[in-house]
């Protein structure tokens, strides 16, 4: 998951400091024994000041699921002076069950948004003018359109931006591979209640696998037939 690598890269940056109010030196969210990417998601809300809505969208969970996760993390921290600090993650089993069952749905992009993402994936990064030079002129669209598209993608959590002198320089938050994996995961992960099967004809069934003995037996059959064929057809 892109989120995980992004957070770990942020945390390992030199000079990185957590501006979090914690009881001790350790950032409290890191102590949660939440599985990825939920642990990172909670951290990211603190780090980047992302809203819970944006976070829920990135994780592909419902807003209520995200709120539940978030308020649990604050409550269990002992903020109100009540309750222990969780060490074993037991407190979260209920929330996790709720969160896990929610399907991961990557955001879908419009035509121009796709073109912008494609450009940034291959170019690495770019400011508004550079993206406009690459895409806008050919399509006959204005700088403003490109700017608002970049902003929208940033708000959707697909891009990150750095301020270099006066301009924002945008780059993709997730790689093309991450994006494809999420999309494919939605198609073949059985998340659409099997409805996706209706539009997909895979070469071998995507969700169910043959047993090991069965596969070996069939492979032996094919190998034997090949040997026979090589000996020459009569």
């Amino acid at each position: 998951m892109a989120l995980v690598s992004y957070v770990s890269s942020r945390v390992s940056e030199p000079g990185f400091r957590l501006g979090l109010p914690t009881d001790d030196s350790e950032p409290f969210v890191l102590r949660f024994l939440l599985p990825s990417p939920y642990r990172e998601a909670l951290l990211l809300v603190e780090l980047e000041g992302l809203t819970q809505e944006q976070m829920a969208e990135m994780l592909g969970i419902s807003l209520s699921g995200m709120t539940a996760l978030w308020s649990a993390s604050r409550r269990r921290r002992g903020e109100d002076g009540v309750g222990p600090t969780p060490i074993d993650g037991r407190f979260y089993s209920g929330y996790l069950a709720q969160v896990k069952s929610a399907p991961v749905r990557p955001p879908l992009l419009g035509e121009l948004e796709t073109a912008v993402m494609n450009h940034l994936w291959s170019a690495g990064d770019g400011e508004v003018k550079a993206v406009h030079a690459a895409l806008g002129k050919r399509r006959g669209i204005t700088l403003n359109t490109i700017q608002s598209t970049l902003k929208r993608l940033f708000e959707k959590g697909l891009l990150v931006r750095d301020k270099v002198s006066h301009a924002h320089v945008y780059r993709a938050r997730a790689t093309r591979e991450d994006f494809h994996r999420d999309l494919l995961g939605e198609l073949v992960g059985g998340l659409m209640n099997g409805q996706a099967d209706a539009v997909v004809s895979a070469f071998v069934d995507l969700t169910e696998r043959a047993g090991p003995e069965q596969l070996e037996r069939l492979e032996a059959l094919v190998a034997e037939r090949r040997r026979k064929l090589e000996r020459g057809p009569r």
């Binding site: 879908l108 035509e111 996706a196 209706a198 997909v200 070469f203 696998r209 043959a210 596969l215 094919v222």
Partner: protein, 331 residues
């Protein structure tokens, strides 16, 4: 309640009864000939299964049309109207003489429930299909197009290859599988997927899944599974016809299955051994065996034609029978 609404209730009730009759008929056919059908040559099997799957819907349409034929005739030629011989309490299945009595309140409630349930289910299924189509489009737009191979490469290590999309299906191949396959194996896999694209299997599958809902659950599941296997085998045969030989197709299937299995073992522990497994076994064994000669569906077409004609000839009797049965159950 307005007379039109009462008439609509009767027509709806008759339609549902015919649908149920068609589902029963399909269940009988599957029970009697299902096992024999699985040994047919894949293309003919696919067509026969598609016909079986659409039997309830088709029979509901045909029977409802035939049962309302006398009333349609009365609409055009009032002299031929026979309704005045009935009393007003009769369940008229008629566009001219609207029934004076509605159906039983309990039955009406069932009808309302059934229709809203069906509508809700259809809406959910449709939204999932729309989402799946959009996801496929997103993959196709952001993937790398290889016009020399006629595929879009999807950037993921997961070894998958599939044809996807309803109206303009395309072939998607993952980078992981692209790297694993030899050029010969790749040609087989792509020939197979192109056959899916040519046959519009995704669109057919989508329609069949929608039609399968009105079957008995076990029959519907069986039909969808068998249709999928038949479509896969038909594409296997086409790949074998364009490529070198049938054994290479079998080898390619096992190669892809093997790498998918390895990838699945790396990523997620539980591996289901179910339908997919049986499908691979059947496909490989069929490819290693002798090819079946093509089978003509003419007897089936003749049987359908004969039953169509006889239903239309017996339209009057069907009309009266339906009215009598409706009178008994509806009031």
């Amino acid at each position: 309640m307005s007379l039109v609404a009462q008439s609509a209730q009767l027509f709806l009730l008759a339609g549902i009864a015919f649908l149920a009759f068609g589902a029963f008929l399909a269940a009988v056919f599957v029970g009697l000939g299902g096992a024999r059908l699985t040994r047919w040559e894949p293309r003919a099997r696919h067509r026969a299964l598609a016909m079986l799957a659409s039997l309830p819907a088709a029979s509901a349409i045909v029977l409802l049309f035939a049962a309302s034929l006398p009333s349609l005739v009365a609409l055009v030629a009032p002299a031929l109207d026979h309704c005045p011989v009935h009393d007003d309490g009769h369940a008229h299945l008629c566009f001219v003489h609207l029934p004076k009595v509605g159906i039983h309140a309990g039955l009406l409630l069932c009808l309302v429930f059934l229709v809203s349930y069906a509508a809700l289910r259809a809406a959910f299924a449709a939204s999932s299909v729309v989402r799946a189509v959009r996801v496929v489009a997103a993959l196709a737009r952001t993937g790398e197009h290889r016009s020399d191979l006629g595929v879009t490469i999807v950037e993921t290590s997961q070894p998958v290859c599939f044809a996807a999309g309803l109206l303009s299906p395309r072939v998607l191949l993952s980078r992981g599988l692209f790297d694993v396959l030899s050029s010969e194996e790749r040609a087989v896999v792509l020939a197979h997927e192109r056959a899916h694209v040519r046959r519009r299997d995704a669109l057919v599958g989508c329609v069949i899944r929608a039609l399968a809902v009105v079957h008995l659950p076990s029959v519907g599941r069986w039909l969808v599974q068998e249709l999928e296997v038949a479509a896969e085998q038909a594409c296997d045969e086409e790949a074998a016809r364009f490529g070198t030989d049938r054994v290479s197709v079998a080898a390619a299937i096992l190669m892809v299955e093997r790498s998918a299995k390895d990838a699945a073992a790396r990523e997620l522990a539980p591996v289901a051994v179910a339908f997919g497994a049986r499908a691979v076994e059947r496909r490989v064994e069929a490819l290693l065996g002798e090819p079946h000669p093509p089978r003509s569906l003419r007897p089936l077409a003749i049987a359908i034609g004969v039953s169509l004609v006889s239903v239309l000839v017996l339209a009057d009797e069907l009309h009266h029978l339906t009215e009598s049965v409706l009178s008994v159950i509806a009031h």
